[in-house]
Assembly symmetry: D2
Homo-oligomer: 346 residues x 4
């Protein structure tokens, strides 16, 4: 039984971790950390857990937590995990960080995009970018996992095989992404109010969104050389889900058949990536509440482009689901354990 501590358990990703782990046969939550709700019964914050969770919220004392837990999930704002991690901590417990602190290997690049100082760059080399489809083996032996961002998870899973196989021009990728509002977090801010989000759509973070370098870093690895992507996220009036619509120029000789073959080669053994058949487009509702990522594409012979569409649940495969998938790998459990929930289409 893996003992789990969650820091930031009352945010949306934290609550999804709880939801998943309650049905996980080999994990037990020993610490519901939430600085805002210390001493409050967790089920009073989220009524769905009424009679299912009896614990009260605790603070974010990682040292104490590390004595009790085998793994710590930090579902916290940027900077928190980097400010707390230490050799002593990592010797006591594994850390799966759901923030961006250890996703970008170059601390200067992190500081430039995030606008905050990185206090512990010495752990960047050992941190493993926890996208199991790319780094499964490395994850297994890690102590510190940088759990990928929601947009990067969806963007990278959608594009990696094509970049890697040289089927698209890696210099010209445009990623237009759409996210449900859990992605904006549970902060009490006017732009997140129901009436400000409902019945409208807008872009945000245009040209400056902080998930951009993370996507670029991973696709650069696939391309074998540095590349830039154009990434634009949008806020959609729905709770969950990310849809990525990516546009890329076909490389010379690329065909729909070769593209399909590249996806199948990449994902045929992957338990959580579903390559959609021709004519089917990804929809966020078809992965809702699950750890699946659906990827489809359409080659436009007229324009010489491929349009790639990927969908995930932003707090599932895009956050908590993936974190549990990483936990399973870290502790030698079956990778899909606790994660085979069927998506809830309505």
């Amino acid at each position: 039984m893996v003992k789990v501590g969650i820091i930031g358990s009352t945010g949306y990703a934290g609550a999804e971790l709880v939801r998943i782990l309650l049905n996980h046969p080999d994990a037990e939550i020993v610490w519901y950390g939430s600085r805002s709700y210390i001493e409050k019964p967790y089920a009073e914050v989220y009524g769905n857990f009424f009679e299912l969770v009896e614990d009260r919220c605790l603070d974010d004392n990682l040292d104490l937590l590390a004595e009790k837990a085998d793994v710590i999930f930090t579902a916290t704002p940027q900077g928190f995990c980097a400010g707390k991690v230490s050799e002593g901590l990592l010797q006591k417990a594994k850390v799966v960080d759901l923030s961006a602190d250890f996703r970008i290997k170059d601390a200067a690049r992190y500081e430039e995009w995030y606008g905050i100082h990185h206090p512990t760059p010495e752990f960047l080399p050992e941190a493993v970018y926890g996208l199991p489809e790319l780094n499964r083996e490395a994850v297994k032996g890690a102590r510190l996992i940088a759990n990928p961002g929601c947009y990067p998870t969806c963007s990278i899973l959608s594009l990696y095989p094509l970049v890697n196989a040289g089927l698209i021009d890696p210099e010209r990728i445009v990623i237009d992404a759409k996210s449900g509002t859990t992605g904006a977090g549970r902060g009490a801010k006017i732009p997140n109010l129901y009436c400000e989000v409902n019945e409208t759509i807008k872009a945000y973070g245009v040209a400056v969104h902080r998930h951009t370098p993370e996507i670029e870093d991973q696709l650069s690895i696939a391309a074998g050389r540095p590349l830039l992507v154009q990434f634009t996220p949008h806020l959609v009036p729905m709770n969950r889900g990310i849809l990525v619509t990516a546009y890329a120029d076909l490389a010379p000789g690329a065909t729909a058949e070769k593209i399909r073959a590249a996806y199948e080669a990449a994902y045929e053994k992957e338990p959580f990536v579903r390559v959609l058949p021709e004519g089917r487009v990804a929809e966020t509702r078809y992965v809702r509440g699950s750890n699946y990522a659906d990827v489809g594409f359409c080659v436009d012979g007229r324009t010489g482009r491929v349009i790639v569409m990927g969908a995930i649940d932003n707090i599932g495969k895009g956050a908590a689901g993936q974190a549990v998938q990483n936990m399973n790998l870290l502790f030698g459990l079956p990778e899909t354990e606790g994660l085979l929930t069927v998506p809830m289409s309505v």
Copy 2:
């Protein structure tokens, strides 16, 4: 040209006042008060007014405002208007208070339900409860209008004719009301976040909601004796609209025909109350963005009850629209001026 000052212009009711008044041929807004956004261009708070409103937000200095405006709308929290109103103020400008401060004639009753001290009960006697369908003539000569609450507007318009005509048992009225989320205001609070309101419904303020005494006071006038109502509001995942479903026992001799006659007698000359034909139920979308109130009913012979259903736009007829209707009456303008917007069903 009536010069209008709005205190609380950046709340949802305030913004609806602006939206309505910009299309009003005889009114001009001279003061966009908003304590939270002083000096900020109003159109930066609400992008829909871009290029339509050039003004910046001002503070809530009512004395200064009273020098410039003919009428002041206070779309502010409870207690604000009562704390500012004075003989000097009312001699300079009319006041239409969208809060509850002057709706309940008995200060002790106000204090009991609202839990705050009423600092200026001396103005309660002269304040007119601004439901034009009941108090049109009194409104015309008033200096201080207590603009009705959203739930009371819908509840009273739905039930008043039947109570007044003695067609229902006034002791046994149950009002189950459902409101869109603009009714919760624009405060940055977690329960108002998109993901907390979307895809769910709940009751709130059960047995203690502060609109209860307001409804009771007006229906008691209709009944000619004090009565109690059971009032339960619910929060619905939509921006605008209130639906009231009210249950009442038929009085002896009451029939569907007599009920219809009572409604028609009450409302046949009313420009904003639409009595629905048999078989048609009120829907909030059919009054959206307008000043209309739709009222229908169904007599259930089996149970001996009448079910009354009323719909308004909570920030239209339930707040800003009604305030403008009162303004029109106060200044001798046609009552419907600026208010004949056709409802927007989708």
Copy 3:
């Protein structure tokens, strides 16, 4: 391993059955019946099942199905199951009927409310009303289960203990119910279109809704004498969930303490009914996707009433979840098997 056939598997309740049963360790779906989609791969109708269900849709041949299945779920329009059931069928397979055909013991009453002829009233006596909280033992030995309606499930669970304990006046119950739009079914009708349901709320079936006699029958059993209820359903812009707000006059001597004691006596051992603590109201999101029913109440000393609030997922405990709960009882499986999914609050 229980072999399951589903007739009407492409409706919303049918799809929820599939979603639940795919995670059920002791059940296997052998027949995806859907008259509208015969031969079409099931996962093309509901993309969430892509790679999880390989089967194609079949017709509604119950005789053939009965050879293959241990239990048949009929998630079909009223009249279908009653038209197909026979002694021969019931000797081969158990039937859990999600329609209303066998819920009302009096065929004439059924025909009056539903407006259709009942072709097989001879099976009404043996059919068991499948609300396990009331009829657990009878369910275990049954061949034909009348799976309760969604509104009745929520209404009865909310009110039964109080009626049964004599704590409320059983003659004066008003039930104001609100349902998500899956309750309207998957028929291609204009009133169910997105733009007709979104951003609005309305009542429907006022005084004539067909779930009324079902609620009355069960509460009459609790009261020990016939009673009438006033039942009004509303359509809410959300996918899932039913909220019941019920109003009842307190019986002489009834107190909040006695009411709480009655609920606790009724439900303390029930795995799926959660009695909410004082001050907490039921919300549909807290039971979404689950088989739980949340019940809370508020005594209003001022009016002498109790307001009872209950919430279920209309296609969970209100349809498919309850059907699987009944299946578990029918086959001697643990009652909660496959049903302990944690509700998904966002």
Copy 4:
């Protein structure tokens, strides 16, 4: 007083025409055509018009209608208007066709993308593409107006000034568009049901959407040479609104200042196009219910692209509003008459 006939008055664009024209001081609707609802009171189809419209629906007899009306709006499926238009008809009444029949000058190209035969290509030369910002003078003298599509209106207004000024590479434009669900029409189809659209987002018509050639034709005129665009629409869970996010490579020498100057030169005198200041993004709610188009942009120096964002109400400026704007021009009325409704942000 312009006499107006509407064919297809019960679709969403038709109903928006009615809503706008009821508040138009110089227009009167004389014909509510609707093949599906002949003889039915119009206000029974759309309850918002209760007591505002007394007329019943009529058939689609254009010859008879042309005797009574000065202008005919055809808010009908593709092929209808082309099948009915004739010299005789145009001599009696002006026609504003909201379908695509006369938008594409090349009949073969129309037939290729729409998959239907064009029966009256002889009227293609005289038909004027009714985007007043481009063709104001031509509209004034026309008999037959091809009212632009919703996506093309938003896409063209967003991009035309930059293509025209040579500030972007016209060969490489990617348009990622998002639409509310009124855009899918009022047909009773399963994919348009509430529960199929709510809480999800998907692309559709990828690489083959029929608005593509219309956008290309108009931008080709701006570029002075044929160009292709990559156009991908998405369905968003909201009623109204289109957001276009367009990606283009900057031409050599292009700067943010030049781009702003191009927009201002194009639109400074336009009453309905609002060029957003730096740092502000277009949001559909800020144009809801109005005839405004909001256009903003962001230059990404890092990637050498400009991201252009435009928002309209798809059934306002994208259909009915623009049709009325064209009507005003056709009849020498002030262009903005009846169209200065303030957008409704919530």
